[in-house]
């Protein structure tokens, strides 16, 4: 690249030297040079040619000399910038840098290659909007704006990352969100000291207060409607450029159990399904542990007929019931992981082969008892009803903890483990909001959208 006779431009060029994808154009307008700098692969080159280069070349010389030439270009938004690191950032964001008389302007000419809007794979709903976030923050924000049209919606932009930067945007409704919460979120986002942020999941872990807890401290979603609902409730959303998952803070256990479907169907069936989901989650965590404690400690508590048939089925099983349960649980986990990793067309096949063939064969071979297979399989199916994947991961891990405590101290150990778990949850706070709100502490006014979702009010307000 040739020398441009301008020290600042030379500096910039040196910064991007060796990077031959950066285009530097020098145009002589009114006998002074105007530099146009951009990265062709992430810019809309046609736009640059049409609205920057061409007008500059045919510029009418009689035009007033007071306003800078660049401000006269037929562009929507021209921003003046100062420092050189900001310039560099703008260029990397797909902006075009224009230099005239030592003044720097940036123009949005971004054109990253992005994926089409699709329905999110991980969060399936039966009714309601089917759009899902994609990897472009700009597109994501536009999707949110489509679902949430209010001038209350406020965005605060940040760039984080030391080696490579990532754009992060904190969104909230000015009149709904608690200012303290917004401050806290912004503080935590600003405090991130990381070389590189690859995804929303990394941001999520870096702004958490309890890295050792199993439970997710924030909500992660790919659905714009979920974000808009949360913002209306006064939560704060964090958009991360390059990531389709948007982080919602704070999370409470109650909110993690909700699905957008709950609001789209009539309140009685929707509430029934919600209760079912809570119940299923509870069963999925506790059932194997209850079974183990009954089998290995409290035969007396099992109804007599059932105890007889259980002992018949366990006849010839060579391993203790705890090991048996552990074995089956591990098998289920392996199958689940394999199902996730495998290509889509053969994923279900493996699950079916694994679940039916392995289970059936293991029973026939006398390695495990059929009842154990029922217990483990049912609890695994129950765990699929949990709407939030991070929560379902937590519950899956907890199942092993409960299993272990039931194996050591029976029902008593199980009760103590459940106490321990609930103590942890009562202590746990997500952005200073108690995790078990509105159950502990009691917030009566918010019970209307907890276990049961009450019907919507016809006149004003969300629900009564």
């Amino acid at each position: 690249m040739k020398n441009t006779n301008s020290p600042i431009v030379d500096d910039l060029v040196r910064m991007i030297e060796g990077n031959d994808k950066v285009t530097v154009k020098t145009l002589m307008v009114q006998h002074s040079p105007i530099y146009v700098i951009y990265i062709a692969s992430i810019c809309n080159v046609n736009k640059i040619q049409e609205f920057i280069v061409k007008p500059l070349l045919d510029l009418n010389l009689e035009k007033s000399k007071e306003t800078p030439v660049i401000q006269q270009l037929p562009l929507d938004h021209v921003v003046k910038v100062g420092q050189s690191d900001q310039m560099m950032r703008n260029i990397l964001n797909g902006f075009t840098l224009l230099i005239e008389n030592g003044n720097f302007y940036v123009v949005n000419t971004t054109k990253f290659s992005i994926r089409q809007v699709q329905e999110p794979v991980t969060e399936v709903t039966l009714r309601g909007a089917r759009d899902g976030f994609i990897e472009s923050m700009e597109q994501n924000i536009s999707m949110l704006r489509m679902h949430l049209r209010t001038n209350d919606l406020t965005f605060q932009e940040f760039t984080i990352g030391q080696k490579a930067f990532t754009n992060v945007s904190v969104a909230y409704l000015k009149n709904e969100a608690n200012p303290e919460l917004v401050q806290e979120v912004i503080k935590r986002v600003e405090n991130i000291q990381s070389d590189y942020i690859s995804d929303g999941g990394v941001v999520e872990q870096l702004i958490e207060n309890n890295p050792h807890s199993l439970f997710p401290e924030v909500h992660e979603t790919e659905r714009p409607t979920k974000v808009s609902n949360s913002l209306v409730e006064g939560r704060v959303a964090i958009f991360v450029d390059g990531s389709p998952s948007v982080i919602i803070a704070p999370a409470t256990l109650n909110a993690l159990f909700h699905s957008t479907d709950d609001y789209n169907f009539k309140w009685i069936p929707a509430s029934m399904i919600r209760i079912l989901r809570y119940f299923a989650a509870f069963i999925s965590v506790i059932l194997p542990a209850v079974y183990i404690s009954l089998i290995s400690f409290h035969h007396g508590l099992i109804p007599t007929d059932l105890a007889m048939s259980i002992s018949k089925t366990r006849e010839g099983v060579p391993i203790p019931s705890f090991m048996e349960a552990l074995l089956m649980e591990l098998t289920i986990e392996v199958l689940r992981e394999a199902g996730v990793r495998l290509p889509k067309p053969i994923g279900p096949a493996v699950s079916i082969v694994g679940a039916i063939v392995l289970g059936e064969a293991a029973v026939t071979a006398g390695i495990v008892s059929p009842l154990m297979v029922i217990v483990v399989a049912f609890s695994a199916i129950c765990s699929f009803t949990v709407a939030d994947y991070a929560l379902s991961l937590a519950l899956r891990t907890l199942r092993f903890f409960l299993l272990l405590s039931a194996a050591v101290l029976g029902i008593y150990g199980l009760i103590l483990a459940v106490f321990l778990l609930s103590i942890h949850l009562t202590r746990f706070r997500s952005f200073n909001i108690p995790y078990l709100e509105p159950y502990a502490p009691y917030y009566h006014k918010r019970w209307k959208d907890s276990l049961i979702r009450f019907k919507f009010k016809k006149r004003g307000g969300q629900s009564e």
Binding site: I411, S422, I423, R427
Partner: protein, 365 residues
């Protein structure tokens, strides 16, 4: 120290009912049946509740003169440093005794019904460890935990009450006041101790420091009322199902009552498990309240706040609770615990209140 806003009336009642209902619901029937010997033992609970309410009013009076002060803070304020220190030590010993007593009885019942071969110290130790986790972070967690489990506990009790209704023989409850009103009145000296826990007005005082004495009085009566109602229902049920004569023989009549429930064709036959689960919650909440009170006392009396020291308190409780060699011996010691309770929850507050009047102290502003 976790933060906590002021309790609402509902939360207050929840906390105090959780604290008061404890081992009493399982242990009370037998001594009560022996003392009263008529089916009117439910009436003794009303009498007990009235006496307890009167004692609670003394404490409310004291608390409202020193809002936000715990017992351990206000006793040096009222009686001076040395006497206050002595009172505090006595109070700490009292909480230690009661905590150890609750723990030992709980462990005894668990060993009896759930884990007959597990060593006692394992049962007790694991209970203490979980409780330590609860109390180590301050009053806020304790209160939230109580709130979380209160509905579950109530559900268990109501479910059990309804299920056992079928087996009640109403004739066992008759005649009402057949031997006059005096024997059930005498039973009040047994029922009184089943309400232990109301004295934590003096420990949880930070959580209602802004409340007026009047609302505290109403809330306290409401809590005692709810507790008394639950006790009464269960006493009536146990008498109705087992009969007063049998009640005198059985160590844990309430569990036996739950055991006797039978529903043919229903998958789950053993209802004592449901009862035991509900009851372990109440035992845990009562124990944690006493443990918390003791830890708080040690904190404020010796002015130490290092969290690891909570394990010394835990070890003390463990040691005392392992001291008696059997449950029979525990019941013998129970008499001494009751004497200590009388001194600690009637004697101390009355003394402090009188001294406070004499010295014309009032921090209510």
């Amino acid at each position: 120290m976790s933060d906590l806003k002021q309790l609402t009336s509902l939360q207050f009642i929840v906390v105090f009912v959780s604290t008061m209902i404890g081992v009493g619901i399982i242990l009370m029937p037998r001594p009560l049946a022996n003392e009263v010997d008529t089916p009117d033992i439910w009436f003794s609970i009303i009498c007990g509740a009235l006496i307890v309410g009167a004692c609670a009013m003394i404490i409310v009076q004291l608390v409202s003169r020193y809002p936000g002060h715990t017992f351990f803070e206000l006793s040096p304020l009222i009686c001076g440093r040395y006497l206050g220190f002595l009172l505090n030590i006595c109070y700490i010993l009292y909480t230690l005794l009661v905590a150890a007593y609750i723990l030992r009885v709980t462990a005894g019942i668990i060993k009896n019904y759930l884990l007959d071969t597990t060593p006692l110290f394992v049962v007790i130790g694991s209970f203490i460890i979980v409780s330590t986790y609860l109390i180590s972070n301050g009053v806020g967690d304790v209160v939230r935990f109580f709130q979380l489990y209160f509905p579950i506990m109530m559900f268990m009790f109501i479910a059990l009450g309804l299920l056992s209704l079928k087996d009640v023989d109403i004739n066992e409850l008759r005649p009402v006041f057949g031997e006059g009103i005096v024997p059930p009145l005498m039973g009040a000296n047994v029922t009184f101790f089943s309400f232990l826990g109301f004295e934590f007005l003096l420990i949880f005082s930070k959580t209602f420091s802004k409340q007026k004495a009047k609302s505290l009085r109403i809330w306290m009566w409401a809590s005692i009322g709810v507790t008394a109602l639950i006790y009464m229902v269960f006493m009536a049920l146990t008498v109705g199902i087992l009969g007063i004569a049998e009640l005198k023989q059985i160590t844990f009549p309430t569990v036996e009552m739950a055991k006797s429930i039978e529903f043919q064709g229903f998958f789950f036959e053993r209802f004592e498990l449901i009862f035991l689960f509900g009851w372990i919650i109440t035992a845990f909440t009562s124990f944690s309240a006493y443990y918390f009170a003791m830890w708080k006392g040690v904190n404020q009396t010796f002015r130490i706040h290092a969290k690891p020291l909570v394990w010394i308190v835990a070890a003390l409780i463990l040691g005392v609770s392992l001291y008696p060699s059997g449950l029979t011996e525990v019941f013998e010691y129970a008499t001494y615990v009751n004497y200590a309770a009388c001194v600690a929850i009637i004697g101390f507050p009355t003394l402090l209140l009188i001294l406070s009047f004499v010295r014309r102290q009032n921090y209510a502003e």
